[in-house]
């Protein structure tokens, strides 16, 4: 592979984390016989003047076997940048809302473009973008990286080294995450942060590659030298405000105040100074130490403390684990906290009180208990920070791109070559923007085309927003098809035509709502539904091939007399959400209130009324919570009127939001801001919003009915009784607020949602296409 690493500063001696990492990656990729070139500026380092070209422009080859190409930097608007940066830095972390820019748009532009500038580097990327297989761009917040990602998007592998800081909330950064073809994270926690900030599209194109930590040979070879501090907790690293060392010292003082007789000490080593705040002599600052001294300190400590909130990967944490020492981290730093939680190799604390309590806990633990925790960490470090394994992961994710769905199908091609001359068209009553069945039809068409078939969608009624996706139904188009897929729904005028069609045909059943739900509200529509179900029975003999969107639907088809109905699930891909969420709505919803969400058209079977009623109980536990019911309502619909009347009766006008049918950007904002997806629906044939919620890592709590248990699969977290809505509200409150429970549900959901990805559903569609294609060929 030919790989370019794009980084604003680069050099053997630069101490920055990203720069050192870039050097290691370049050297190790070159060692594995890849052609590597580092594209950087002539500016020496982050600490130097960003307008000065300290180093000569041009190309050199390093002894490690990779090239370095430097480009000159140029003058920049210092004042404008300082102003923008000042404003960004003055933003408190609590005021930052994902999807909403922390500064005005012009200021954000100034920040990105006037930080470090190299037009020559960007011109090079423009001119040579097809000369490299991949561009690894790092770290995330500099102009050459963000603008560079824009230029080489199709071959961009962004390695962000992301922190939870104001810069990460800039729209240009979010845009770079959306555009990049691949994203490489240093830690699981860093990926969690990116998912929270930029949404579900991050998941599928990203991988945690980790960062290697080389074990120091002296540690293994020689007997550990006791540095003479007795029992101590160690802090290793820079001692500045950004690293939260003050918090650590304050917490230690507090612990000592409660336990003055304890012999536990705090030892701080590294650059900078810290006010020991009366914690001395129990706390000691040993300053910058040699590598040998650092090793001795690590080998003799009880545990390492890493109180920083801004880490994308903690090298010292891995170093401590690699020598079997447990680690205490800040629970609000996802990069470290998730790692601790994953392996159980330590503890997490946030407030001063929690850190003080943690010191007390540490003081009590026996050597054996500490060693057990350290051992867990050691196993984790071995897996994640071994350079060979790290580089294997780079090669895996940057390997040859799998460009088509065909290549995702394992084994010999399922669709026979002879079948590919056929035209498989789809017929359905209407195509609507945002509608699950319509989206599914579009995906089927695209996939059939990828398989090599000719395919189009024909409908009777067209939503102007999707008119480019389909054609108007005509009997001629029907009869010109080699084979057809018919999506059955109620009251459609195209059914009689489809029945007359003599070629191979397949019916896909998305279910018809039982009429009983509508009888009380819309008796006429209930009649239509009843007729639709009856009609389905009469179609059984006409379709030799039939599919349900779920086993639940397929079972109904079987009951109606269809022969051997199969299952073709609806494909739900996160790519659909590759949009920036509505920033104003994100700001509005990020006001600290709990957002409980349900998505689905306003219909009696969806039981939005019951949600509202249960929510009125929920408010007693969380009075500022908000219930959001997204979904289209028919004009003058009696159920919709009933729902609004109920909201008024319960005096919930300020707490229940019903935005109707909304554009994708707004729906993305609702999903991104939701704390719980709550469904009381009593009839679903599949329920796409459940999978969508899973993609946004929103825990789903649903009433177990119809196809819902099947769709939720191993991630199902459901309630089975509704008699007591107080219990249901209490359960919803627990799920929305209990972090551990949420994590367990979301972890299961992450596994489940993969079952509906194109790569999983495409082979099943291939089988269907194969059946139709073979029949069409034999009939011809």
């Amino acid at each position: 592979m030919r790989i370019a690493i794009v980084i604003p500063w680069f050099g053997r001696e630069i101490k920055g984390g990203a720069e050192q990492q870039a050097w290691q990656i370049a050297a190790r990729l070159a060692q594995r016989k890849h052609e590597v070139e580092v594209l950087t500026t002539c500016c020496r380092s982050h600490q130097d003047d960003w307008e000065t070209n300290h180093l000569p422009a041009g190309h050199v080859v390093e002894p490690e076997g990779f090239g370095v190409r430097r480009f000159p930097v140029e003058e920049r608007d210092r004042q404008g940048f300082d102003r923008a940066c000042g404003n960004l830095l003055s933003m408190p972390v609590e005021a930052l809302v994902p999807g909403s820019s922390p500064v005005p748009a012009e200021e954000a532009e100034v920040f990105v473009d006037e930080l470090i500038k190299s037009a020559a580097l960007l011109d090079f990327l423009r001119a040579k973008k097809s000369d490299y297989d991949w561009f690894v761009l790092m770290p995330y917040l500099y102009g050459p990286v963000l603008r560079g990602t824009e230029i080489v998007a199709e071959r961009a592998a962004l390695q962000p080294c992301l922190h939870d800081e104001a810069y990460a909330y800039l729209p240009q950064v979010a845009d770079a995450f959306r555009r990049a073809k691949k994203i490489l994270f240093n830690s699981e926690g860093e990926r969690e942060l990116a998912l929270r900030l930029y949404g579900p599209t991050v998941w599928e194109k990203s991988a945690v590659v980790g960062e290697g930590v080389e074990p120091e040979p002296i540690a293994a070879a020689s007997e550990p030298v006791d540095p003479g501090y007795g029992r101590y907790v160690l802090y290793l690293g820079r001692k500045d405000a950004g690293k939260n060392v003050d918090l650590l010292v304050r917490a230690f003082s507090r612990f000592r105040a409660v336990r003055p007789n304890s012999d536990l000490r705090l030892v701080l080593a590294g650059h900078g100074a810290v006010d020991l705040d009366g914690a001395a002599p129990a706390a000691v600052d040993v300053g910058l130490v040699s590598e040998e001294h650092k090793q001795a300190l690590l080998l003799n400590c009880l545990a390492l403390a890493q109180p920083s909130r801004n880490e994308s990967f903690s090298r010292v944490m891995m170093e401590a684990w690699s020598v079997g020492k447990p680690v205490a981290v800040h629970s609000e730093c996802l990069a470290t906290a998730v790692a601790v939680q994953e392996c159980g190799g330590g503890w997490a604390a946030a407030s001063e009180g929690q850190w003080a309590a943690l010191f007390a806990q540490l003081d009590r633990l026996s050597q054996r208990e500490l060693a057990l925790l350290g051992e867990r960490g050691r196993e984790y470090a071995e897996l994640t920070s071994d350079w060979d394994k790290v580089m294997d992961r780079y090669e895996k994710i940057l390997g040859p791109p799998k460009s088509t769905l065909k290549s995702t199908l394992s084994g010999p091609p399922i669709v026979k070559t002879a079948s590919r001359a056929v035209t498989i068209n789809q017929f359905l009553p209407n195509l609507e923007y945002g509608d699950a069945i319509s989206n599914n039809a579009i995906w089927i068409r695209d996939t059939l085309r990828e398989f090599g078939f000719s395919s189009d969608i024909y409908v009777r009624y067209i939503d102007p927003r999707v008119e480019h996706e389909c054609r108007v139904f005509s009997p001629d188009a029907l009869h010109a098809s080699s084979a057809i897929i018919y999506h059955h729904s109620v009251g459609t005028e195209i059914t009689p035509h489809v029945l007359q069609y003599a070629g191979p045909k397949c019916l896909i059943y998305h279910n018809i709502t039982p009429p009983e739900f509508f009888e009380m509200y819309a008796p006429d529509y209930a009649k239509v539904l009843r007729a639709g179900r009856e009609e389905l029975r009469s179609l059984a003999s006409q379709f030799r091939i039939s599919y349900g969107a779920s086993a639940y639907n397929a079972h109904e088809l079987g009951d109606m007399g269809f022969a051997e109905p199969a299952v073709l699930p609806i494909c739900v891909s996160p790519e659909k959400w590759d949009v920036a969420p509505d920033p104003e709505l994100m700001q509005e919803l990020g006001d600290g209130r709990t957002n409980l969400l349900f998505v689905g058209r306003v219909a009696p079977n969806k039981r939005q009324d019951e949600l509202v009623e249960a929510f009125s109980h929920y408010l007693a536990l969380d009075p500022t919570a908000r219930l959001i019911l997204v979904g289209k309502a028919q004009e003058n619909d009696p159920y919709d009127e009933h729902l609004h009347a109920l909201i008024r009766t319960l005096r919930l006008e300020d707490s229940v939001v019903m935005p109707g049918s909304i554009p994708q950007e707004q729906l993305a904002a609702y999903y991104r801001s939701a704390h719980l997806f709550w469904s009381a629906s009593e009839h679903e044939g599949f329920c796409v919003p459940l999978i969508e919620a899973m993609w946004f890592d929103v825990p789903v709590l649903a009433f177990a009915s119809s196809a819902i248990p099947e769709t939720l699969g191993e991630a199902a977290f459901m309630y089975t009784e509704k008699q007591n809505l107080r219990d249901v509200a209490a359960l919803a409150h627990i799920v929305a607020t209990d972090g551990v429970l949420r994590r367990n549900i979301v972890r299961a959901q992450r596994n489940r949602r993969a079952a509906f990805l194109p790569r999983e559903v495409a082979p099943q569609l291939a089988l269907l296409a194969d059946k139709l294609g073979t029949l069409a060929t034999s009939q011809a």
């Binding site: 009888e519 009380m520 009766t649 199902a716 007591n724 209490a730």
Partner: protein
């Protein structure tokens, strides 16, 4: 009540927490309608909100075409009777049998059509009555639940009234005690401030 196969979730423990949280709700009540029931330790059942009544389908009346039928029958009668100027014994030779038959057939067809319309209308009426019926049944259920609520509320009001009377009695007793203590303190105070005659 909870169904899950997600590992690491202890359903029993979770149910215990649900019961604790729900108990808070029972003692605190909810907002909105439930705010009405928010009394100390209230055990009032939830107030259910009745869905709107279904729309009544206004059916057009069936046109029985009575006048047309009568006219046809009169005409058939005339054709069967024949011309009155012809002597009675010869009239049967002058009956217009063809016209009579046609009119009779038309009349029967018209009757058949009307009967079919009536049958259809009866079906429609039955169908439209069904949701009305269901709603009325629901209304009866809701009415019953309202009655239950009112019974519970009456019970609770009685208890509350008793508690209030008890509290009032206690308050009065306390008031009296305070008054008694106040007057004795006042007396003691007066004594304390009086100059000692012996000095």
């Amino acid at each position: 009540m909870i169904e899950t196969v997600i590992p690491k979730i202890n359903i029993d423990e979770l149910m215990q927490r649900v019961r604790v949280e729900a108990a808070k709700l029972r003692s605190g009540g909810g907002r909105g309608t439930h705010a009405v029931t928010r009394t100390r330790g209230s055990t009032l059942p939830a107030v259910r909100v009745l869905p709107p009544p279904p729309r009544s389908v206004l059916l057009k009346p069936v046109d029985a075409k009575r006048e047309r039928l009568d006219g046809m029958l009169r005409e058939a009668q005339a054709k069967s009777d024949g011309n009155s100027r012809v002597p009675k014994m010869f009239r049967r030779f002058f009956r217009k049998q063809g016209g009579y038959n046609r009119l009779l057939i038309d009349s029967v067809a018209l009757l058949g059509k009307t009967t079919a319309q009536l049958a259809k209308r009866v079906t429609e009426l039955t169908t439209s009555i069904e949701p009305q019926n269901r709603w009325l049944r629901a209304l009866a259920e809701y009415r019953q639940s309202d009655v239950n609520w009112m019974r519970a509320a009456t019970q609770e009001l009685t208890t509350l009234r008793e508690e209030v009377s008890e509290l009032r009695a206690q308050l009065e007793q306390l008031h009296e005690e305070l008054q008694t203590r106040g007057s004795s303190d006042a007396q003691r105070g007066i004594r304390a401030t009086q100059p000692d005659d012996s000095e």
